[in-house]
Amino acid sequence: MDKIFNIIISGVGGQGVITLLSLIDEASFIEGYDVKSSELHGLSQRGGSVEVHIRFGKKVYSPLISSGSADLVISLEMLEGLRELVKAGKNTKFLINEYYLPFQDAPAKEEIENHLKEIGDKLYLVPASDICKEKLQNEVVSTIYLLGYAVGKNLIPIKKESILKAIENIVPEKYRELNIKAFNLAYGDN
């Protein structure tokens, strides 16, 4: 891979954005890439919009992605996915959890859907939360489900084995099996 691969992950504080970031960081490191990422904690994490950046490739300088330079946006919530449209370029792919967490003054779900449709064939709207709730009785691992989907569909230039190794390195043992299940569930669905 010659160029640097840029991923923005967005969602709502508390959804597990940072766990997902850690896994992708670790997996890209396992693959031998240089990697830098940037995240936010504290007040910004308490139920507000959260946006984190991951960049990997041969040599990465800045931990932040410039406007229009994201290769992939993974969003854990629809409105937060739509919000990334301002940062995305012509070639940005969007993998968005079909999950809506409304708040006061938030636009209606239909309105968000209509906007998202404009992304066209670069949009992957996946009901990860619903699937994980139904098949694994756990919504939290929808982040890992999305990761499985991204790897399965080649939206992210990282091998399955590297992700599984990253899960082993990072996820505490008691949640490991559930995470691998969620990953494989999406990976196998493809």
């Binding site: 970031l21 990697v35 910004s44 308490r46 990465v60 931990p63 932040l64 409105l79 301002v86 708040f103």
Partner: protein, 541 residues
């Protein structure tokens, strides 16, 4: 060894490699993970670690450790250095006995900060303490070690100043394995000549300090702590950058396909004047890239003047003083200076309402804010404070009439009460009460005013990531300790009207408010109910 580390984790690693003995601090964003990590690994690594009641006490604890021969690290967010500054300045005069690194994490763009967009580097000028500025996690580890080395060599504390994008940046970090050591027992060897700042000795100490700084400066020039890259004799334009902004410069140069020499300032203070002069001597133009204030730019302008150099110095005329920098902002500045074209990628504009921070699901504060709003008579002034109760200032609550610093809700409410006939209610968390609320409470009692103080006791310091505080009966290292009761402290401070209640008993809460709002003395209501996230965590083990 190489592993992906967060900037804050890399600081811990650097300190471990330096043989750290003693860690104190106060949790805040973006520094909190430093203390948390130390508390996790303290016992097995022969370290004593604590969350102190506030940053001033944290620094003083470390001073005691340093005077007793223990290597110490103090960790805090930007505003922490304001709190500890009273002891920071004399510490520069006495110097350290065993080495000490003070980590201060600023938050440009105020991602997790109210109060102000503080650039803590200015404390270098105020205190005469050296300041190191890492750009990434690798440098967090390396500069922590360097900080201990400098501290040891010159008997001075060293400030390691990070920012959000450094502290919360991850990358593969090269480091050395550390063998666990046993806990060190120090010895305080009496030496009031060094440790006591009594006049007239204090002025002698100042002289010694200024002499020491000259020595540090000479050492910095010689040891090449600041780095010059891509230097060429023919270059007419150069860049001087510090902190994470250096990484944005590299990114911007690649984007614009420019080859420009860079002087990276790693030691912000004392500034290596000769290195700077040598770098800018042959140049016609220089761009100073630093986040927030223009401290470096001003110093460099003075150096150019002193050296009688005729060159253009750009800085805050082309780069913003507000908010963090990024590669694009630097591209724009570079494009203006070099004439090189930069096309900012146009992206789709879409206007969406902000999703602000909100109380968590099941948060005990959901039961507090609506009741206070309902019972307080029209025109009541609400004082906000730092912590999760900051969310009271946001919709749907929108309650704050003012918000300042830790404990300030009460100090200010006393002033309002003394100046008006209006009702005033202060909202404060348990952590904040222990940190800075107590002197303000004593002041209100002593000087006879009558604000109503509602203390939201959720049994932990929640906002910064659930760190224990003196109200919990547990130390940071998990040991059992005295559980300080807020009501007993309030009573000892002379408060007559005190009520401890669980806010889900709405009637009881309403009655207490109604009664206390009519009192001529200070009243305190303690709404005691555990943080919902903590309760869930305890249940899940």
């Amino acid at each position: 060894m190489k592993k992906i580390l967060l900037g804050n984790e890399a600081i811990v690693q650097g300190a471990l490699e330096s043989g750290i003995d003693f860690v104190s601090g106060y949790p805040g964003c973006p520094s909190a993970e430093i203390g948390e990590e130390f508390l996790k690994i303290a016992k097995e690594n022969g370290i004593y670690a604590e969350w102190s009641t506030n940053e001033k006490v944290a620094l003083e604890s470390a001073i005691g450790a340093s005077f007793s021969g223990l290597k110490s690290l103090v960790n805090m967010k930007s505003f922490g250095i304001n709190v500890c500054s009273d002891s920071l300045l004399p510490l520069a005069y006495t110097g350290t006995k065993a080495p000490m690194v003070i980590v201060v994490a600023d938050d440009p763009s105020c991602w997790s900060s109210a109060q102000s967009e503080q650039d803590s580097r200015a404390y270098a000028y105020l205190s005469h303490i050296p300041v190191l500025e890492p750009a990434d996690p690798q440098e967090c580890r390396d500069f922590t070690k360097l900080g201990f080395e400098l501290s040891e060599k010159f008997n001075t504390p060293v400030i390691l100043r990070t920012t959000t994008r450094v502290a919360h940046q991850r990358m593969p970090v090269e480091f050395d394995k550390v063998n666990s050591k046993s806990k060190k027992i120090g010895e305080f060897i009496k030496n009031p000549h060094q440790f006591s700042t009594m006049p007239p000795r204090v002025l002698e100490m100042k002289k010694e300090l200024l002499e020491k700084l000259e020595k540090i400066k000479a050492y910095v020039e010689k040891s090449k702590i600041n780095k010059i890259s891509k230097n060429s004799v023919s270059a007419k334009f150069g860049i001087i950058a510090s902190g994470v902004a250096y990484l944005y410069v590299l990114e911007a140069l690649e984007e614009l396909d420019l080859d420009i020499p860079i002087l990276k300032i790693n030691l912000f203070y004392p500034l290596a004047d000769k290195t700077v002069a040598g770098f800018i001597k042959k140049l016609k133009k220089v761009l100073v890239v630093e986040e927030l204030e223009n401290y470096l730019e001003k110093e460099i302008k003075i150096i150019a003047k002193d050296e009688d150099l005729n060159l253009q110095i750009f800085g805050k005329d082309l780069l913003p003083e507000i908010g963090e920098l990024n590669a694009e902002k630097i591209c724009l500045a570079l494009s203006k200076i070099t004439g090189k074209k930069f096309n900012k990628k146009t992206t789709k504009q879409i206007s969406l309402p902000r999703r602000t921070a909100r109380l968590c699901e099941g948060c005990p504060y959901w039961h507090v804010f609506p009741v206070i709003k309902r019972i307080a008579p029209e025109g009541t002034i609400f004082g906000g404070d730092i912590g999760c109760n900051m969310i009271a200032g946001l919709a749907p609550h929108s309650m704050h009439d003012y918000l300042f610093s830790m404990g300030a809700s009460l100090g200010i409410s006393h002033g309002v009460k003394k100046s008006t006939s209006q009702k005033v209610i202060s909202l404060m968390g348990d952590g904040t009460f222990f940190h800075a609320g107590i002197p303000a409470l004593i002041n209100a009692v002593y000087n006879k005013s009558n604000p109503l103080v509602v203390i939201l006791d959720n049994r932990i310091t929640a906002m910064t990531g659930h760190q224990p505080n003196p109200g919990m009966g547990k130390t940071g290292m998990g040991e059992d300790t005295e559980e300080l009761k807020i009501e007993e402290i309030a009573k000892a401070c002379g408060v007559k009207n005190i009520k401890v209640l669980d806010q889900i008993n709405v009637k009881e809460f309403e009655d207490a408010m109604k009664e206390f709002l009519e009192k001529d003395e200070v009243s305190v209501i303690i709404c005691k109910r555990i943080c919902a996230l903590l309760a869930k965590r305890q249940k899940n083990g």
